[in-house]
């Protein structure tokens, strides 16, 4: 239970590598492979790893707890369904707003996760923790504010209303998927690997469905998806697959043994780490707003996770001391 911050740190590093590896897997700025096949293979990887560990658990002396009732199993496709709806909302949102506005609105999911976490999982948060969550969203947004040298320069609130409504819906769906998964993982003391196997089996199925749908939509002009599966993959592409799979497994672990807020902090810190690494790797110009965003997020981290006693150790007796220490110079 105490190693959640180690898992969270690892998740931060892997999530931040994801963006960098994906960029590195391109050649001359474009993909030589079908990117849609990557999440499918990552899902297969997660299923294989979880199945292996479940098999090992089954062989051990203490049999793992496994709920196989249909009314339990039938809850596991729901995260996949939410993600499917989310993907479509995301797509619709992008027809109304540009990508940088979309990226900025994405930070809303930090706040919606806090709200759904409170409402559905009935976890109490202190006012300071609520403020920390809002600050985390503000901090990540600050780091993304367009600098004065950048090309695209859209004004605040210039997109049509539908764009913003869909953006909010998207943030809610993303939070709902996270909170629902946490509920699934924590609702009983089933083996994590058994829960994963259920989750990823449906994940694989839904990914196949999505690839098939894409094929039908494009009229099979690139052939069926299984023929494109590893075509054009290089070593970096395989690392992208393994990395995506590993982050999924870590998130699953956090959902069972930590919570959604820990995950949100991990992925937000990962975003900042990616931006810092991009300064070195891709010669991005560091901006003042990135620096400010990092400070804000670090403060938020402290506010959320520090034991309150380390934050507000107010020495009530010494508050009035300075005045008494000063030399009195009076006329009489």
């Amino acid at each position: 239970m105490t190693q959640w911050y180690f898992v969270a740190a690892l998740l931060t590093i892997l999530t931040s590598s994801q963006g960098i590896l994906t960029t590195l897997s391109q050649s001359h700025g474009k993909y030589n492979y079908d990117y849609a096949t990557v999440p499918f293979l990552a899902e297969v990887f997660k299923l294989l790893v979880s199945s292996f560990f479940l098999w090992r658990e089954c062989k051990s002396s203490t049999r793992p707890r496994m709920t196989t009732e249909w009314r339990s199993v039938c809850l596991f496709p729901i995260p996949s369904i939410i993600y499917l709806v989310h993907n479509n909302v995301q797509f619709a949102t992008l027809t109304y707003v540009d990508t940088s506005t979309y990226q900025i609105m994405g930070n809303l999911k930090i706040v919606t996760t806090g709200i759904l976490f409170r409402l559905f999982l009935r976890k109490k948060l202190s006012n300071l923790q609520w403020m920390a969550i809002v600050l985390l969203a503000v901090g990540t947004t600050t780091s993304q504010v367009k600098g004065c040298g950048e090309v695209s320069c859209d004004s605040l609130l210039s997109a049509p209303m539908q764009g913003y409504m869909l953006g909010i819906l998207s943030a809610c769906l993303s939070a709902l998927a996270g909170v629902y998964t946490e509920f699934l993982m924590k609702k009983n003391s089933d083996s994590l690997y058994w829960q994963n196997v259920q989750l990823y089996t449906f994940g694989v199925i839904f990914n196949i469905g999505r690839l098939l749908l894409d094929d039908f939509r494009s009229g099979f002009e690139n052939g069926p998806w299984w023929q494109r599966l590893v075509i054009g993959y290089n070593a970096t592409t395989w690392m992208v697959v393994l990395n995506l799979g590993s982050t999924g497994l870590l998130v699953s672990w956090l959902m069972k043994y930590a919570d959604n807020i820990v995950k949100v902090y991990s992925t937000s810190m990962a975003m900042l780490l990616t931006m810092i690494l991009s300064v070195y790797l891709f010669n991005f110009k560091p901006t003042l707003q990135l620096f400010l965003g990092i400070i804000i997020c670090m403060m938020s981290l402290q506010m959320y996770f520090s034991p309150p006693s380390t934050l507000v150790d107010i020495p009530a007796t010494t508050v009035k001391a300075p005045l008494e220490n000063l030399k009195e110079v009076t006329v009489d």
Copy 2:
């Protein structure tokens, strides 16, 4: 003692009016009067008001406490001397850095005030209050980040090193003047008006000195300063004078009955208020960073001034409740 937040709110409103009135006092974008005469007249106004109230106190039955020893009086020109040095450092800084970088660096004085407040006045701050002070500086800086449409576009850390060193020195001097004034006002229970009379008498003298020096530097080409004193003043200019004088009196009150941190919050909030009002009055384009800066500063305000018990009311007993509330679905 309880009305400090009322005084602080009034200071915020008046400080924020100052920038707007000063802009309104221009005609066709330039001053028809000598702006250097405004602080002098404001100092005279403060001296007159304080003298009047001191005279009233002297007439009342309870004689005000007044320390007239030389070794007490001789401490009162020191704030004026610090401001004089500060003005020159400010001038030197601006030869190295542009005005927007200078403005950004000005937020450092929030942090230096916190540090000198702790060191010289020996006031203890909780970790949360330190974080709040840093966040206030980050928030005001965020609101000033250049948007993507703005003309001047200097990179972070592009000015020579001396510029940054002088900027830090400037922030320290500004903080020192504030902290020293608080020490002066609180070191004994003298009448506030008597302390003000001493402070502003030296203020008037130093302002005359400064105006004379300017005259000598320019070789009296505009005549001596007293001939330019109210030339070209319009009604708005007089409001600028009264406003500047009034804010000075309020700051003096806060230094005696509240502290430097309250003043720093007032003036930072005033800066944000000015920016909001400028959106309406001067058709400034509201930026995302202004919005983010306001949220950060509001959070900081809460963190610093809220009673800790309202921030970290962690219900230790209910943390584990959600898991027990969930329906157990297990196989056995």
